[in-house]
């Protein structure tokens, strides 16, 4: 029992005296997950909106596939990304394996279905007559989607928060694709796993606290954006 309390104490001290090694890990974590979320938003939000609005064959099957993708196990994603990026794999020539770019790719694959699926559900929950109203005001398809998304920005921001949350906390895929190389591909989650394995509980606790704090700060910022818009109503 004592070692837990001791660990938390040391963890907090470490937390405030951020050493350069931890800073490198922290920066990479943020960089990889934010970039992955951004790319997933750029793909997922328009894709989800178009699927929600347009009528086309096999629409329900496509939606079911996206919904399945929302629960993709990160280890499976990691496995396939490794297979594709490995030297003998089809994209081996890119030499992305064990690089941050490979990790971003894996996280994009995890976050995109989540953001697509939640955006799709958000757009589908809008009264179809509301969309017709936008069209009848003289909007092109692109304009109408933009106006609609602005109207449901709260739900879209919730989708972004969910997407970011899924990748910042994910360990399986970054471990496999990145390889947890110190100073290069080591992020907060993989570092926490490593330190726990090695019995350095106080460092593991410190890393865990940093991860939670950072996640909280990013979500706090997103929530502030979300709720300040809400107040104007």
């Amino acid at each position: 029992m004592n070692f837990i309390l001791e660990g938390i104490k040391k963890g907090i001290i470490l937390l405030f005296g951020l050493n350069s090694e931890v800073l490198v890990i922290l920066r990479l974590s943020l960089w990889v997950s934010m970039l992955a979320t951004l790319i997933a938003v750029l793909i997922g939000v328009p894709l989800g909106s178009i699927i929600a609005i347009k009528k086309f064959p096999f629409k329900k099957i496509i939606i079911a596939l996206i919904n399945t993708g929302m629960g993709l196990p990160p280890v499976v994603v990691g496995l396939f990304v490794v297979l594709f990026l490995s030297r003998s794999g089809p994209f081996g020539f890119l030499q992305w394996l064990y690089t941050p770019i490979g990790m971003v790719l894996a996280q994009v694959i995890i976050a995109t279905p989540i953001i697509t699926g939640l955006s799709l559900a958000a757009v589908q929950s809008v009264d179809p007559r509301f969309y017709q109203q936008i069209l009848s005001l003289g909007a092109t398809t692109t304009q109408s989607i933009w106006v609609l998304l602005k109207e449901i920005r709260l739900s879209i921001l919730a989708a972004v928060i969910a997407g970011f949350g899924s990748v910042i906390s994910e360990v399986g895929a970054v471990m496999m694709v990145g390889g947890n190389i110190k100073g290069q591909t080591r992020v907060l989650t993989t570092a926490t796993v490593l330190e726990t394995h090695m019995g350095n509980f106080e460092i593991a606790i410190a890393l865990g606290l940093i991860l939670i704090t950072m996640s909280f700060i990013v979500n706090l910022a997103l929530t502030f954006i979300q709720q300040s818009r809400e107040k104007q109503k």
Partner: protein, 359 residues
């Protein structure tokens, strides 16, 4: 001229809409009246290119719109007003400016004009979410007219409004449509809205147009039994207020004078509506304190609702409902003379546009 021909649409083997021929004059308000589920909204959705019919053609401005590739260009010359205002979570001004922004146009003063016309200038900077239902409808109308559309489609736009707001809104709406010589297709199930706005009308039921004519004609001479059941429940007569004392109006109808309570003024052209159950039939005069009494001749007796409906001729045509008991007690027969009376408060007065009105 807007010409609709052989338009049909069916869902799952059932024919929901069939309009074999319908012509609509440009620069006027054309009303389609009918009960819920008659296909009125379906018709509007087809004209707005939201629904694709199975067959038929709609010619607008010399072109079959069902065949056009450039839906956007057509939509930008029309406006669709729904029964819900569907405002955006922005200020009133931004809501009205949106159609201009979507077209990449700058405001040349039309926003201010619309704010004035619909009396919402004082709300310009308010967020749409803070408005009352009546104000929201005014904003939606201002937004619909800011682009100066050539054609407006109105789908029961006053459905969720109470009478107080409705009357002034109808007047403002009529003004903007007349002033800009816009063609309007207006869909409703409400008789007083139809009477107050229409130049010409059609009755629609079960997906078909039963009758197309002037408002007065439709209400007084419904073409079929079905149409009569829907619209012909009241006596509706055209008249003009020639004198007013307090809120008591004296209305001239042909050579007769009726007394009614209403807010309208001397010189106004009106429709007066009398419900059959408000008309009292008697064998002797002076039997009631009602303001209006006339000698009348029974022209028809037919079963109606739980009793009977009498058609009466008393200088104008009047419908009255009576119970089977009264028919027996008063020994009512076709061609017999009786006395009819009704109170001044029993008359519902609706202002109408004078005929051959030119602006």
């Amino acid at each position: 001229m807007i010409k609709i021909e052989n338009l049909s649409l069916g869902f799952s083997g059932r024919l929901d809409l069939f309009v074999d021929k319908l012509s609509i004059e440009e620069g006027g308000i054309f009303t389609v009246i009918g009960p819920n589920g008659a296909g009125k909204t379906t018709l509007l959705n087809i004209i707005a290119l939201f629904l694709k019919p199975d067959n038929g053609s709609i010619e607008i401005w010399g072109e079959n719109i069902l065949k056009i590739k450039d839906k956007l260009n057509f939509r930008r010359k029309t406006s669709f007003i729904f029964s819900q205002p569907y405002l955006f979570n922005e200020t009133v001004h931004n809501n009205i400016a949106l159609p201009l922004r979507l077209r990449g146009r700058h405001d040349t003063g039309t926003i201010g004009e619309m704010l004035d016309l619909f009396k919402i200038g004082h709300l310009k900077t308010n967020m749409a979410g803070t408005l009352s239902q009546g104000e929201k409808h005014r904003v939606a109308l201002a937004r619909a007219f800011v682009t100066r559309p050539r054609l407006v489609l109105l789908d029961e736009p006053f459905l969720s409004l109470d009478m107080r707001f409705k009357e002034s809104l109808i007047n403002d709406l009529r003004k903007v449509i007349r002033l800009n010589k816009i063609t309007a297709i207006f869909v409703t199930q409400d008789q007083s809205e139809a009477l107050a706005l229409s130049d010409t009308m059609a009755v629609m039921m079960r997906g078909k147009i039963l009758q197309q004519s002037s408002p007065g004609d439709i209400f007084t001479r419904p073409a079929t039994r079905e149409a009569a059941d829907f619209v012909g429940v009241e006596t509706i007569i055209e008249g003009r207020i020639f004198k007013k004392e307090d809120n008591l109006c004296f209305i001239r109808i042909k050579d007769k004078i009726l007394e009614a309570v209403s807010v309208y003024n001397e010189g106004d052209d009106v429709f007066i509506c009398i419900r059959p159950e408000d008309v009292v039939i008697s064998r002797h005069t002076d039997s009631s304190s009602a303001r209006n009494h006339f000698n009348a001749r029974i022209t028809n007796i037919e079963p109606w609702r739980l009793g009977y409906k009498l058609n009466l001729e008393c200088g104008f045509n009047l419908a009255a409902s009576v119970t089977g008991q009264s028919i027996e007690n008063l020994n009512l027969k076709i061609n017999e003379e009786v006395f009819v009376s009704f109170k001044a408060t029993a008359i519902h007065v609706i202002r109408r546009e004078p005929r051959n009105d030119t602006i």
